[in-house]
Symmetry: D2
Subunit: 246 residues, 4 copies
Amino acid sequence: MAKIRVTVWGENIHEHTHKAVKKVYPKGMHTCIADGLNEATDIKAITATLQQPEHGLTEKVLANTDVLTWWGHMGHHLVEDVIVSRVQRRVLEGMGLIVLHSGHYSKIFKRMMGTTCSLCWREAAEKERIWVCNPTHPITKGIDRFIEIPHTEMYGEPFGIPVPEEQIFITWFEGGEVFRSGNVWKRGNGKIFYFEPGHETFPIYFQKEIKLVLKNAVRYVCQQSIWKDGCPMITAEQTREKIGKK
Amino acid sequence: MAKIRVTVWGENIHEHTHKAVKKVYPKGMHTCIADGLNEATDIKAITATLQQPEHGLTEKVLANTDVLTWWGHMGHHLVEDVIVSRVQRRVLEGMGLIVLHSGHYSKIFKRMMGTTCSLCWREAAEKERIWVCNPTHPITKGIDRFIEIPHTEMYGEPFGIPVPEEQIFITWFEGGEVFRSGNVWKRGNGKIFYFEPGHETFPIYFQKEIKLVLKNAVRYVCQQSIWKDGCPMITAEQTREKIGKK
Amino acid sequence: MAKIRVTVWGENIHEHTHKAVKKVYPKGMHTCIADGLNEATDIKAITATLQQPEHGLTEKVLANTDVLTWWGHMGHHLVEDVIVSRVQRRVLEGMGLIVLHSGHYSKIFKRMMGTTCSLCWREAAEKERIWVCNPTHPITKGIDRFIEIPHTEMYGEPFGIPVPEEQIFITWFEGGEVFRSGNVWKRGNGKIFYFEPGHETFPIYFQKEIKLVLKNAVRYVCQQSIWKDGCPMITAEQTREKIGKK
Amino acid sequence: MAKIRVTVWGENIHEHTHKAVKKVYPKGMHTCIADGLNEATDIKAITATLQQPEHGLTEKVLANTDVLTWWGHMGHHLVEDVIVSRVQRRVLEGMGLIVLHSGHYSKIFKRMMGTTCSLCWREAAEKERIWVCNPTHPITKGIDRFIEIPHTEMYGEPFGIPVPEEQIFITWFEGGEVFRSGNVWKRGNGKIFYFEPGHETFPIYFQKEIKLVLKNAVRYVCQQSIWKDGCPMITAEQTREKIGKK
């Protein structure tokens, strides 16, 4: 069986400008995420970054991508609108999209949601506990009742999103907040999964359970079919019923 | 303008069998809830209890009820199925239903949801913080970012419900759990609001913000119209298009 | 790979009491449906009927069923409540459920939906055209823009169901009505698909496209996991955060 | 009580370039729609058009608009992106949005939905019958089982939208198609209603039932509150729980 082709997109800025991030992710967050996915025998993950021509997301790359993961933060505004539109079109055709952490404010996520995607936040290296709301969902396979992350940034409600079609995870934060941290929507033929963990200064993408959720999610949002969009005029020949004379 | 007619249903057992409950709610939880609602000039709340004939929910009472609130716990099994069916029929016609706390396991809530409605729980008098997910929803009017309840029972995820159509509140618990504590669904013409606070040994229904949410919720689930259910056969006369000879 | 184990439940009354039905389905509708499913190499379908002990739905049969299909009409009231509860529990655990045609008024469908499930209807042997709303959904795989059924019973809106989580098909009727004819919901861990075609006096379950949709639907509602329901008390040992003294 | 302030936006091109349209709507479609709304004593509708400075949708106009209705067709590409963003922001704050007919392809509707919003179509002056799916919904108040429009353009499934949160109407077309013709979504604090009727060459906005639906819809999508969006950092002072030393 063919492997699921994943493109792991990384903004790839913090890793070069913040020592703390470089220390945690010396090869870049995108490489770490791709390495985690490539542990699975049914997944083949490659990477693409902001700095590459067309941000690494050429028509050809996207045509050969079943699932795209997106991590961005300080460079959201540097992503060209034409590339965002190209990604959106592919999602609507059926490419899966996994949006990570600060990607909540990426152009592509806001484009798919239509909403502000805002939240509240705090950096205090606090503990996070991610609760499973949907115990037998394919995305939670192999996860027990919760995942604990020892140190992370807090993201809190209200989260400015359309009501999720599937509520997979909700997070408890040490400082007293909660957050809808794993949410699924379908847009066109594409499935979208937002997953909150992943602050750049902590080794969250090295954590075993997080890597497992990402593998599960890749399998879940991967579609086998493509919607050929159009706005066809139905001709007299295609019309199934006789229309009375007007 | 006519007042909204609310019937506050109470199981009314703990108040007579548990000293601690009697002390907190000497007139019964149902009376306390009704008193809170009656603070509003646009609401007229009465009470009904398990012990009354037909559990106080006669055809006449329900016909004159715009919104029914439900608190039950140890006596769920004592509620007659015929009364549950009667309440369900009225909800589907358009009566609002507010299910409180341990009412998650009531016959009527399970009937409306079709699911297990299970959860996990702990009694440790811990703190609860109820976060607003939907800041301008009519149910959260007048509530700031959250409500704190100093001592309560914990209800935790996974909550065995259909995915809520509106996510109003999510709760943080001191012991480390989270819970979807304010959820809206529509069933038939009736709106249903589940609201988690309300453990019997704490004076939660006396708390100002809880009383405010209940008033808001009564207004939100109150409908003005009735769905006259039926399964009509469409006669030749009612058929709008000519059907070819068969 | 193990085959998907389907139990095709049939009321099996019309076939014995109505000559027209017996003529179309001499071996029973359930056998016809099962035969269609068994054309697929990944499906193993057996049948069960109302007249068998426990309606053929013993604990053992259900424990070995991945997907249950349900066709009933004049005998809905003859199905024992205890069996309905057993089926419901299995659906909530993860067994798929496909409800066919007049099964809209079955005890199990009303139990899962919580609503009236009513509609309007007409028997005039009219034409039905089932439109695909979700062109790349797994259930519509291999179906072009629509399916036409030359002669059928009309089922019309309003259909008294909760809002579908996925809208797969909508039907056009010759006499002028429309109907949400393919709808998906999730309840607990079980996926439910309602599919409208299938009036007993027409050979609809012999039609190629209908058989294809049923195969697709079996694969779609089949789950691999089981939700072990419970309402566990969380002990001090299981509590993740220290709770302040009270 | 203050009136609901509606701004009826019209593209206002066909009325000047197509004689047939000018004949049906000599004062413009927008004026006709506004006149219909102004029949209600609780609504005050004004108009705005593409040709005005800022398309008539200045910050001030939008700040004083409770509900915006949108009809556009051949000039979608002429609407400035900055105005689209301004309208979107106001919808997310709580302004209601009613998108009409060919507005399905407007920038603002595609922006709010995140999807292609495509459909299939035919101009054959055929009959349309709009069925009520939600009989006691505020939008269908005063409408019986259906509305008939004698001559219209056909819009058919698949309609490239996110699954509607409320299914109000589904349409039957003489030529054999169906369409989800009345759909509600919530985005941010704004309610959005898409309503399919309204082809420019027919006097559809003069039709009594269509005017009634539009009045009902204005009342339904009108919100009383505003979501002040932000992405606040939670300070130590605002943090409700003590976070352990890191």
